[in-house]
Subunit: 449 residues, 2 copies
């Protein structure tokens, strides 16, 4: 347990081991460009050593808190720390996954729907309403095809109020039929299609739609997992507990996998209400992070990320390295922080420890952030958001931001103990472990909101 | 429903469609060298068209008869007929699967063991006793590594009576430790290893081992699925029923997927007892096959395969195109038919419709026979037994026989309706459907033996 010291004993961690950089695999996997990867390598060693217990622990947890039907988790890999920063229960981006892992997705979807509705033949996929985002539509078509290959009849419903079906085109030019929902008594469907299962791919930022309330059919994930009911701070409160339990199991400091956070009560950026609370908490959080950096000899400037607590789509997000930056917001910044997805007012924020991303890709050393996809409790793939124009302390998922998706070349469930702990299969396994911890936090959150 | 005529209506099936031979994919997939592939192509079309109902039907059946933990099924593809000829509940040959599908195997093993023993950490794999078959040992090591990657601690037990552990080498030179079983009260294990689950990879041809009787832990597959309890004729009786139900679902003649069979009472080849019954049934069976061949305009000579009813390893197997061939066995042939695996006496035989294999591979047109692997109810891969020295009506799994394994290049759960029904993904999907029908027959057989 070299680096696995509890905070309280005050000892310095083991000296940091510099990892060899492999310039041969630029094409498949970003590499860590930090000298601070020592603790991470040890994290990976711990995971490998404890793998049977990690997996048994997860199996046991899924019995108590069944995994949501699907999810994607944004990770940040600082070399010295590997942590989730966002958990999406209505994942898009299925089109960014490696086609080699389609069979894995199909098999996991079969498991997932077996758990939710064993006799299902027909699945109604309820999509987001932003019909002009052709990349999103590409993801919907990919998901539809996966469901179809898994042996279901699938049609795609929209919450948009429209008279008839609407044909739209995906970014690759594929046609997609969006059909309005119909309600007959306690059942929801679309014309001539009475589904067994409603698969939500709409995050309900605009509220819980009446047409889906009190229906007979199963909705997965459930309505209360939409952003109209969720708060990021609730999720990360569950995550903190999950990380604590897991850290005990594998004997590490939970901070290595858990982003610290604080939150305030109501905030109104335009009226500058709640500002003092935000400044104070930002300051406390930055000081706490600084202590951890000192403990681990990390020569980096701590930063925090302030985000809408019920937010998504990377809207209403800012970073700060100093509490003053939060105090001195100009009008434009305050306006930007006030409006979330779909124009929803932002009245609550979460102040989260910023986690550097030290993975870079290609000769330009573009910043890369892993996104991990899960179906049921299985890790089925993922991709890197690769962005040349951003720094290691910036949010890579922001509106209008263009990233290059780089599909994971390897699966995340195939660790190889005969290789080094930081070899690709083992790094991917570690990603899968951390992503599943976030998934477990979401599972507990949905059960006990 | 062109060719899907019930036997009774007497109409000729649709004219046979000649399929285009693709000489470009020699390296990955054998091709059908028969002009008789018309009905099969239509079979594949039916499967594609009915896919959601096929999958829903399977899901429902697995709820009633849970799938065995794993199995492999030998198929024969005659172009006009695609049928299972043997179902192995203790599969070897995991080393012949495509490494690209390791993630699929890992995920399916996780599902399988979750169903059998959700809290399992330790799995005891009980191997066959033939320690000199280094290819078999290679399969055991592959299976062990899959279990280990799936997150279990695995050790390998042997039923051989020996004092301590025995290190053996696989065909590729990997070391493998075989450890004797220990019994403590109602628990079985090996020294310092108390498993949660006993995974049987020994077909119990030599009988049910006392050490495994009445133990507290779960054994998968259960003891009664060993060859000391099973009869092929019982399996194919269940399969006949499964094929009948499935054929109704997809509206085909069940004969297209079901090998006819008959059996007799006790037989003693050496004493020539029961010979008349064997001759009579062979004759009846050959006549029935001939009628079906006439119905479908198949210009081939019918044949039957006579095998030990409780047999395995391709021992005690013979083919006959005429009842006289069964009558006029010489002493050597009778001796060969008398002894099954491990020297067990053969006293019961099954007379099964021979299914031609018209898949060939390479320029030499070597005969190829698909073997499909399943873990839980998931189809995880397979390979072709490729044999240059055998004919399309011969058994490709016989003792001392050397076949070249050719791993399936594509998964079996990824059909593609945008391609022709006989395109590779769709042919593989059809293989997976037929193999799962045999798996379902085995599931029913284990529940109601």
């Amino acid at each position: 347990m070299q680096f696995a010291q509890p905070v309280s004993n005050g000892r310095k961690p083991a000296p940091i081991v510099y990892i060899r950089m492999n310039t041969n695999n630029f094409s498949t996997v970003p590499h860590l460009t930090t000298a601070l990867s020592g603790p991470l390598q040890q994290l990976e060693s711990h995971f490998l050593k404890h793998q049977p217990h990690i997996e048994a622990w997860f199996r046991n947890e899924w019995l108590r808190s069944p995994a949501p039907v699907y999810a994607s988790v944004d990770l940040r890999n600082a070399g010295f720390k590997l942590a989730p920063v966002d958990t999406n229960l209505f994942p898009a981006g299925f089109n960014n996954l490696n086609p080699a892992f389609i069979p894995l997705c199909i098999q996991a979807l079969q498991s997932a729907i077996e758990h939710n509705c064993p006799t299902a033949v027909r699945v109604l996929l309820v999509a987001e309403s932003h019909t002009r985002n052709t990349f999103y539509l590409e993801s919907v078509v990919t998901l539809r095809d996966l469901l179809s290959k898994a042996g279901f009849e699938v049609r795609i419903g929209t919450l948009l109020e429209q008279d008839g079906a609407m044909e739209v085109k995906t970014s690759s030019g594929k046609p997609l039929l969006l059909e309005p929902l119909t309600r007959t008594g306690d059942r929801v469907g679309i014309t001539d299609f009475d589904p067994c299962l409603i698969l939500l791919n709409n995050d309900l930022s605009s509220g819980r739609p009446a047409v889906l309330e009190n229906i007979e059919q199963r909705i997965a994930p459930p309505l209360n997992s939409g952003w109209s009911n969720r708060l990021k701070s609730e999720h990360f409160k569950h995550y903190r507990q999950v990380a604590k339990e897991f850290a005990e199991l594998v004997e590490i400091d939970p901070w290595l996998i858990d982003p610290l956070f604080r939150n305030c009560g109501e905030i109104n950026f335009m009226k500058r209400e709640g500002e003092e609370c935000l400044v104070r908490n930002t300051d406390i959080l930055l000081r706490t992070i600084r202590q951890k950096y000192q403990q681990y000899d990390i020569d980096k400037k701590p930063f925090v990320v302030v985000k809408a607590d019920a937010g998504t789509y990377g809207m209403a997000v800012m970073t700060a390295h100093d509490a003053d930056e939060v105090r001195e917001l100009n009008r434009k910044q305050r306006t930007r922080m006030s409006a979330g997805k779909g124009g929803q007012d932002v009245s609550k924020v979460i102040i989260q420890e910023g986690v550097y991303t030290f993975e870079t890709w290609g000769e330009e050393e573009a910043v890369a952030e892993p996104v991990v996809y899960m179906i049921d409790h299985f890790v089925v793939g993922g991709f890197y958001r690769v962005h040349t124009g951003r720094g290691p302390n910036e949010n890579l998922n922001a509106p209008g931001m263009h990233f290059e998706p780089l599909a994971f070349a390897e699966p995340l469930n195939n660790p190889d103990t005969s290789q080094e702990p930081d070899a690709n299969p083992n790094r991917f396994y570690a990603y899968g472990v951390i992503a599943r911890l976030a998934l477990l936090a979401a599972a507990r959150e949905i059960i006990t909101p």
